[in-house]
Amino acid sequence: MTDKVHLDRAHGRRLLTAMLRIRRFEEKCFELYQTEKIRGFMHLYDGEEAVSTGVIEAMLPGDAIVATYREHGQALARGIGMDVLMAELYGKQEGCCRGRGGSMHIFDRATRFYGGNAIVGGGLPLAVGIAMGDKMQRRDSVTACFFGDGAVDEGSFHESMNLAALWKLPVLFVCENNAYAMGMALERAEAETHIARKAATYNMASEAVDGMDVVAVEVAARRAIAAMRETKAPFLLECLTYRFRAHSMFDSQAYRSRQEVAHWREKDPVHRLQSWLEQAGLIHADEVGMIEAGIETEIKSAVAFAEAGTWEPVEDLERFTTMDRVPQ
């Protein structure tokens, strides 16, 4: 059964490596932003690694992903190279979008990664459309649409859920419920805070899962996606998670207490998986050390790549405002 997760050494290692890559990358971005290598708005994923890792682990290369402005985790889990990702954050033309989009607008054709959307809720109709286009062209793909609890407030959530259910479009709506929409706590924004329940009003299946447990996320995602490939029916997967850092870099977090953050840090998904794997004898501490060393090298190399990168010539400013042809 494709929905069962057999957590063997390789799989466990893969999950841990994926999450560690995200965690260390985000830490590096945190540092680089403060020395103004990365500019503009940046939203870090520390604490939420299990969600993107678990869901994308259950996806196939032909599937599509739509994400939000907090999408470094999704981008890395999906396999976008750390180097082109870092170069994009630097704004260099060697970045995946020629440096045009920056942190909030990652696109990658090869991995069917469709952003990176800075408008809360703006990606949901897009995901519906991609799934629609895939279904019309008889592809087996599913589209995973990541969004936060804030997007649930927006009309586009309701329209998109309705359209996907009505037209039976294979969209996996993944709500990364980290309890805050910037500074707005969920209970102050939503009359119904159990987000998974909202799917019922659209006649859509759903599940709420512990977003700090990567295995639980993967299991749930696998189950939902397997069904979706058959029935094309959409699914809402609510992942209860938490971001350890502020909404963005410039945020004093006046809206939540240190105790709350500390409480959630104890559920750190990376530590949890690592401890669990170690206790289960599926990984040794020195192996983790080697993984970390490898990641550190990878990050160093990505930073060097970005540092050595070049700026897109100003003469090319208007390129791709309009396209000459549809890229194949």
Binding site: E31, Y33, Q34, T35, E36, K37, R39, G40, F41, G91, A246, S248, M249, F250, D251, S252, Q253, A254, V303, T310, W311, V314
Partner: protein, 504 residues
């Protein structure tokens, strides 16, 4: 030794106030430790250090508002530093990012942005290092403040320091002054602290009194407005352009557009004389006679003429002409008139008071020496088109222009600008004229020169009498614009030019 700098925490953060230090000199810190708390527009944010080492110095005190990149503290050599933490700031293409200090570390000991510099009594704020024009760079403290070199004691001056706001008018240290205050900042010109802007902006010294301006040079354009001082006429862009291309003097054009604006149709109509409309060939002698009569009548009525004559011996000039013409066929030969014109033009350039116009009760110098050359037309008319910048043309050029003008004048092909541009007029009666001509000035010019017939007369040469070619030049001058003295200088100049033939 590594520096710990004020980090950038957001796209619109330019500075932060250090409100709490969680370390002190001697403490060991490692990468990731929270070492301080910074207050920003968005509230207090804990900041981490990315180096490992021993704190050797706290540079910025609690309460100080400092821009991004300021050295906050220093770590000693026991530290292992990670990648360089200093902001390198500028992208390679040289575009400064707003709010970014330039490469390198800002000068140490710099007082925080936002503190009023010297000139305002404030507790504990020496002006050391404030880069504002007019301020001493090494900081002569004002009376009553601690001497230069003393670290600020940390007491804010009266009034609340603006968070993140440099006083308007003075760019924050190192930042390119973009001229636009950051979003959310007080509007330009409003001092945040309530202190008058000039003081808050660094009490720039009053600019030195300007030296008295020299008299403005005469305008080099011909104003369109008529000399009666009427309101400036409106001209459509295309009318102005076509008039310029065709050399039509807009002063003579009546506008039929909205509000009397001159429009293209008016320029089209201006090519032909108003009554009756005529073709290019031929002219109306009666109309011309009337025009001449009007001009001459006005001249004699309004202009107080004075007359000076000079008899000039021109054997040298004629010899020069002969030698120039010896190798030329008749169509290329230079006539004496050209010689005279050139001599006159060069002399006029040296006596500018005679080269111009009397308008509105005063003299206006011409923008060049444009000599009007009186040409008699068959049928009895007279025109005096201008040879522009005659003083700068060579003899050959003057001759060529004269030929062209004569030919076009007789074919009625002169441009109106040629008819109106002359700054002085020269008339020659030629070979059949009288010996002396007393010309009547063509207003609004202020001088006219007449050239009589070249005759052979007895002349004193080296103490003996010999027959020589002489010509009588007469200057008519407008006594409002010049006097006999200037006029005499002009004639003397012409005489001299006709003698120094190699300069012609």
């Amino acid at each position: 030794m590594t520096d710990f700098l004020m980090p950038s925490l957001g796209a619109d953060m330019e500075a932060g106030t250090l409100v709490e230090w969680l370390i002190k000199p001697g403490d060991t810190v490692k990468r990731g430790d929270v070492v301080a708390v910074v207050e920003t527009q968005k509230g207090a944010i804990e900041i981490e250090i990315f180096n490992t080492g021993v704190v050797s110095e706290i540079v910025v005190p609690v309460g100080a508002l400092v821009p991004i990149g300021t050295v906050l503290a220093r770590l000693g050599d026991a530290g292992v530093s990670s990648e360089p933490t200093r902001p390198t700031g500028m992208p390679a293409n040289g575009t400064p990012s707003t709010g970014t200090p330039p490469t390198g570390t800002p000068p140490t000991g710099m007082p925080p942005v936002g503190m009023p510099p010297s000139g305002i009594p404030s507790t504990g704020m020496p002006p050391v290092g404030i880069p504002s024009t007019g301020m001493p760079s090494t900081g002569t403290p004002p009376t009553g403040t601690p001497p230069a070199g003393t670290p600020p004691t940390g007491t804010p001056p009266t009034g609340t320091p603006p968070t993140g706001t440099p006083p308007t008018g003075m760019p924050p240290v190192g930042m390119p002054s973009t001229g636009t205050p950051p979003a959310g900042m007080p509007p330009t010109g409003v001092p945040v602290t309530g202190v008058p802007l000039t003081e808050a902006a660094g009490a720039q010294p009053a600019p030195p009194a300007k030296p008295p301006q020299p008299a403005a040079p005469p305008p080099t354009f011909v104003p369109v407005r008529p000399s009666t001082g009427a309101a400036r006429p409106r001209i459509s862009p295309v009318a102005r352009r076509i008039a310029g291309e065709r050399g039509i003097d807009l002063r003579g054009v009546t506008g039929t557009g909205p509000g009397g604006a001159i429009v293209l149709a008016d320029i089209e109509a201006a090519r032909a004389p108003t009554a009756p409309p005529r073709r290019r060939t031929g002219f109306d002698p009666a109309a011309m006679r009337q025009a001449i009569a009007a001009a001459m009548g006005r001249s004699k009525r309004e202009i107080p003429h004075y007359y000076l004559t000079q008899t000039v011996e021109i054997s040298a000039a004629l010899a020069r002409l002969q030698s120039l013409n010896s190798e030329r066929s008749p169509p290329e030969r230079i006539l004496p008139a050209a010689l005279f014109l050139r001599a006159i033009a060069m002399a006029m350039a040296a006596t500018p008071e005679l080269n111009g116009f009397w308008e509105d009760g005063r003299f206006r110098a011409g923008d060049g020496v444009h000599v009007g050359w009186a040409i008699a037309l068959r049928g009895g008319g007279l025109v005096a088109p201008a040879i522009r910048d005659a003083d700068r043309l060579s003899l050959d050029e003057v001759m060529a222009v004269m030929r062209d003008l004569v030919q076009r004048a007789r074919a009625s092909g002169l441009r109106s600008s040629e008819l109106s541009d002359a700054t002085v007029t020269v008339t020659s009666l030629g070979e059949r004229g009288a010996e002396t001509v007393l010309p009547i000035i063509y207003p609004p010019q202020v001088a006219m020169i007449g050239i009589g017939r070249i005759v052979t007369r007895p002349w004193v040469v080296d103490g003996t009498i010999a027959p020589c070619p002489i010509v009588t030049l007469t200057l008519a001058g407008d006594h409002r614009a010049s006097d006999g003295h200037r006029g005499g200088l002009l004639l003397a100049g012409i005489d001299r030019n006709l003698q120094e033939t190699d300069k012609l």
